[in-house]
Symmetry: C2
């Protein structure tokens, strides 16, 4: 159907390319921008440009940051001896929302995934090992996602750390039933991990 | 949680304000833009600005258009004697996708909704009546949405047209069971309309 002005069609296409946005949502959003006051789209446009100009990776942990060091790495009250390894900066947001973790992070920037051609060199394992060598770290919590790639990346990282420093304590976040879950509907792997990881009660 | 750089927080907030985008989707989209190549966000920003500059309302039918007349109104092969009244430009996209309608449109730009303070003056009823007075129109199809506000707007428009021109044929799009539907799950109003609108078979 060629009744749409070119620029509207273009906007719909660009919105469709965003993760989780289907053709109908894209069209609805495009028409929302057309109907809304001009500043709604121009201000979003401005932020979309600013974000790429202003945001860099933290030199220390590779979190997104507006400064050389992210707010967590430049916060003196954080415990630098506890290091949590995560896949993505968004994982940091989740842990910080929870609020109980007082240590610092290391962002891998992905997981090892041979199927997608991502080897250990493509994620920040070497940078992690350098941090471990240089800093006095008592515990490393590996918090990659509890899926196939996350688990094998966790194993790989554990082995690499062991080669460099044997005395450091390496832990893995617990896998089990999510709180509020219904046993009846849990998948086999979750049940298996919940059983394996059972603790004294 | 104040670990996010200000500009990232701002992007998430602006995305959250979009219709159908929740806090989690907004965060995921913001991080997608951070991770994606710069041109993904700058090109979207450009289109968001262009859309407000380039798009106007069609002088004739009030569809969105890059020219004074939209592609439908400037198409000589369309039948100007059949006029379909719709709420929004997006409704035109739906009918054009379907492809069977060869007439022209009139976009009301909303529906009468006393609860939201939208009276007949806020939508383009007068413009519709002017078109009907000036042009030779044989049929007016009222295609407002089949909900409370759409139905009462349809009734209001029918009455207003009757005041101006009695001889014009006014029709309303059929309401009934959508194709592929399961009778068992249809709501009462849909069943009622399906029964009321039954035809010879």
């Amino acid at each position: 159907v060629n009744v749409l002005p070119r620029v509207v069609q273009e906007l719909i296409e660009k919105l469709e390319n965003l993760p989780g946005v289907g053709p109908r949502t894209a069209a609805r959003l495009a028409y929302y921008f057309l109907r809304a006051p001009e500043n709604v789209s121009t201000e979003l446009a401005k932020v979309l440009i600013d974000i790429k100009k202003e945001i860099v990776l933290c030199e220390n942990c590779f979190n997104y940051s507006a400064e050389k060091l992210c707010p967590i790495c430049s916060n003196n009250s954080r415990d630098e001896s506890i290091l949590m390894v995560v896949e993505e900066p968004l994982d940091i947001v989740a842990f910080e929302r929870m609020g109980d973790f007082q240590g610092v992070y290391h962002v891998l920037g992905g997981v090892i995934s041979p199927i997608n051609g991502i080897g250990p060199e493509e994620i920040r394992v070497e940078e992690l090992l350098n941090r471990i060598k240089e800093k006095s770290i008592s515990e490393i919590i590996i918090a990659t996602n509890p899926n196939l790639e996350g688990e094998s990346t966790a194993l790989y990282i554990r082995n690499e750390i062991n080669k460099v420093r044997k005395e450091v304590k390496i832990t893995r976040i617990a896998r089990g039933l999510p709180s509020g879950a219904d046993l009846e509907y849990a998948d086999d792997l979750t049940l298996q991990k919940a059983l394996e990881g059972r603790g004294e009660f």
